[in-house]
C-alpha cells in the first residue's frame, strides 16, 4: 500500500499548504464586518471548472495509485509470470506524447488568439489520441494471439485492467475534446473556448504522466529504480 500512502501524503501536503493560507487560526467570534477574503489573492481568480478538474485529477490519481498498490502487492506472489511487452507499446507511447504536445500547441495558439492553429492543434491531438487507443487495441490483439489471455496469469490480468482503465479515461477526455473542437468549429468566441482548451490540455498531460508511470510499472523499471534507491539507503 506504499504507493497510495505516498499519493495521500502528497495530497495531504497540498491540502495542508492550502489550509495554511486560509487563516485557520482566526478568531471569528471577535471579528465583525466584511472580512478580507483570501480567495484569489494569489494570481487572480481561478475559474471553478479548473478547480473542479484539479479535484477530479486527484480522484483519478488516487484510483491509479491504488491500482499500483494492488499491482505491487500481487506481483510478489509465486504465480506471477511477467508478460513480454509488445514493441508497439513504445510507438503508442510516442503517439500519446504527440497528442499531448499538440494540445499544448493548441493552448499556446489559444493564448495568442490564433483560431486556426488552435483548431489544428485540437484535431491533431484528438486524432493521435484515437490512434493511441487503436494502437492499444492492437497490443491487446497481439498479446491475445500470442496466448497471453486475460485470465491466464495475474500479470496479464493487471496489464489488461490497467491499460483498459487508462484508455477509458482517455475516451472520457475525447468526449470533452470533441465538444471543445465543435465549439471552435462553430466559431465560438475565443474567451469561451480558451478555458476548454486549457482544461483538455491539462487533462491530457495528466493522462500522459499517468501512462508513463504505468509504463514504468509494467516494464519493471520502477521496481528496479525503487530497489536501487533502497540499496543506496541501506
Amino acid at each position: 500500500m506504499s504507493a497510495i500512502i505516498l499519493f495521500m501524503a502528497t495530497i495531504a501536503a497540498i491540502a495542508g499548504w492550502w489550509l495554511s493560507q486560509q487563516r485557520l487560526a482566526a478568531k471569528p467570534w471577535l471579528e465583525e464586518g466584511v472580512a478580507v477574503d483570501f480567495r484569489g489573492e494569489r494570481g487572480s481568480s481561478v475559474p471553478p471548472a479548473k478547480i473542479g478538474l484539479g479535484v477530479f485529477l486527484a480522484v483519478v490519481g488516487s484510483l491509479f495509485a491504488l491500482l499500483i498498490s494492488a499491482y505491487s502487492m500481487r506481483n510478489t506472489m509465486v504465480d506471477w509470470r511477467e508478460l513480454p511487452l509488445p514493441k508497439l507499446l513504445w510507438i503508442n507511447t510516442g503517439v500519446l506524447i504527440i497528442s499531448s504536445a499538440a494540445l499544448q500547441w493548441s493552448l499556446m495558439a489559444a493564448r495568442r488568439s490564433d483560431d486556426e492553429d488552435m483548431l489544428v492543434g485540437l484535431l491533431v491531438g484528438g486524432a493521435s489520441a484515437v490512434t493511441f487507443l487503436a494502437g492499444q487495441l492492437v497490443v491487446w490483439q497481439q498479446l491475445n494471439v500470442a496466448g497471453y489471455v486475460v485470465a491466464s496469469n495475474p500479470a496479464n490480468s493487471f496489464f489488461y485492467l490497467i491499460t483498459a482503465l487508462h484508455g477509458l479515461h482517455l475516451i472520457g477526455g475525447l468526449v470533452a475534446l470533441g465538444r471543445t473542437s465543435a465549439k471552435v468549429w462553430r466559431g465560438a468566441p475565443m474567451v469561451q473556448v480558451r478555458l476548454s482548451v486549457e482544461l483538455c490540455a491539462i487533462y491530457w498531460h495528466f493522462l500522459l504522466l499517468v501512462w508513463l508511470v504505468l509504463l514504468g510499472l509494467l516494464t519493471g523499471w520502477t521496481e528496479n529504480f525503487v530497489n536501487i534507491c533502497r540499496q543506496l539507503l541501506t
Binding site: 485557520l24 489573492e41 485470465a151 490480468s157
Partner: protein, 591 residues
Amino acid sequence: MVDIPLDHVAGIPPAEVGEVELYHPRSWWTRYVFSQDAKVIAVQYSITAMSIGMVALVLSWMMRLQLGFPGTFSFIDANQYLQFITMHGMIMVIYLLTALFLGGFGNYLIPLMVGARDMVFPYVNMLSYWVYLLAVLVLAATFFVPGGPTGAGWTLYPPQAILSGTPGQDWGIVFMLASLILFIIGFTMGGLNYVVTVLQARTRGMTLMRLPLTVWGIFTATVMALLAFPALFVASVMLLLDRLLGTSFFMPTLVEMGQLSKYGGGSPILFQHLFWFFGHPEVYIVALPAFGIISDLISTHARKNIFGYRMMVWAIVAIGALSFVVWAHHMYVSGMHPYFGFFFATTTLIIAIPTAIKVYNWVLTLWRGDIHLTVPMLFALGFIVTFVNGGLTGLFLGNVVVDVPLSDTMFVVAHFHMVMGIAPIMAVFGGIYHWYPKVTGRMLNDVLGKFHFWVTFIGAYAVFFPMHYLGLLGMPRRYHDIGETSFVPASAHDLNAFMSVAALIVGFAQLVFLFNLVWSLFKGKEAGGNPWGATSLEWQTPETPPGHGNWGKELPIVYRWAYDYSVPGAAKDFVPQNEPPSGAVAQGAHP
C-alpha cells in the same frame, strides 16, 4: 470587536449575478424531474435514500425475527438470512447514509449556507442524482434475479463472495458490484460539485472560518469520500473480473465443491486492504457531516455560541486526515504482522483525541446554555449519548488483544450500530426536524416528533445495549441459528427475543416519522422564514422555501460567524450572519 475593512479582491462573486448565468427550468419536467436546482436534487436524493432505507429496515426486522425466535418463521432460511445481512449493511452504510448526508443534506445546505445561487456545475449535479438512482435500481434488482441478492456479507470478502455455496453467486454479486461502481461514478460527480462550491462560490465575507460547522463537516467528508471511494471502485472492478472473466486478483488456489477451481494464487488479503482503505474513511464520511449538523443544532437550540469553534474545525480536519491511516484495525484477525497491528492500534487510539475534543465541546456548549428541548435538540442529545457509548466500545475494539476474542461476536455488531448506525441516524433525524421548515415552509408535528424520538432512542438502546452483553458471552455474529451451545445460557435467548420485539417497535416508530413528513407537508403549522431564530444564511432567504437562485436579486454579504447567539447587548438573542454591524451599515451594504 475588530472591524475588518471591506476589501475588493478578485474572485469574490459579484453581489448581483446576471440572469443569464442561472439555469432556468423551462417546463414541469425540468423543474421537478430533470432539475438542475440543487434543492430539488437534494429532495430527490433524500426520498430515494429513505425509500431504499425502508427496504433495509424491513430486512433488519427479518434478521431480528430469526434471531429472537429461531425456527418459528419458515420463510427465513440460512441463505436468506445471509442475504438479509448483506443487503441491510450495504444499503444502510452506502445507499442510505452516504447518499443522504452528502447528496441530501449536502446539496440542500451547501449553496444556501455559503450564500451561493446554486452548485457550480448544476448539470453534473443532476447527472449525479440520476446515476445514483440507477445504482439503487440495480441494487434493488438483485432481489429479483435468479438466486437472489448476494449473501457475502457487506464486506464482500473473497474468496467466499464469488464461490458456489454463497447465496447470490450467479447474479447477485455481479449486480451488487455493478451497482457499487455506478454509485461511485455518481458520487464523484456530486462530490466535485460540493467541494468546488465550498471553495469557489462562497459569498462575500464568508471566509472558511465563518462557515457553519455543518458545511465544514460535509466538505471534509466529501474530500475524504472522493479519495477513498476509488479504493472500493478498484476492489469492485477486480472482484467483478475475478467473477466474470476468471482472473485471479483475489482468488487463491482452492477446492470448490470437491474440484480444483479455475482460480489460483490470488490474495484475499489484498481485497481486505483495498476494501478497508475505503471502509474506514467511510465511517468518518458518515460521521463528519453528523458532527457538523449536531454542532449547529446544539448551538441553535441551546441559544449559545459553539464552544471552541476553531478546535471544532481543526478536529474535523484532523479526523479526516487520520482516518486514512487506521484502516487495518479492521483486519486484526487476518493474520497480519503483529507490528502492523501495533501501529494501527496506535493510530486508532490517537483518533480518539480529536473526537473527544468534539464531544467535550458539545457538552461545554450545552453547559449553562438556554436549552430548548425541541425535537431537533432531543435528537442532538441522543446523538451525543449514543456516539459516546459507541466510541467507548471502539476503544475496546481498537486494541488488538481485546479485538481478537471479540471480533466475531455480537459485541462488534453492537459497537458499530451504536457508533455508525444509531448515532448518524439521530443526526439525520435531528437535521430533518431542524431544516424541514426551510424545505417545505411548514413545521413537522411536535407531538409525533417527540413520540418518534423517545421510541427510537429508548428502543435503539433496548436493541443494542444488551447486544454488548451477548457479545461478551461469546455469541457469534452472522449466524443464522445459534442452536444448543453450552456457553449461551437460556436467558440469552430470552434477551434476544426481547431485543427483537424492541426492534419491531423501533421500526414502526419510523413509520410514524414518515407519516409526519407527509402529513406536515399539507397540514403542518406555517413555519415562517426563521422559526428557530437561527443565525446561518439558509434561514435568511427572502422566500421560504427558497426560490430559484436562493437569494432574490442580491447575494447576501456576511459580516460575522454563524454562532452569534445571546450576544450581550444585542437586541435579539441571535444575530444573523448577514446583519451588518451597527455603525458599519453604509460600509457593508453598498460595496
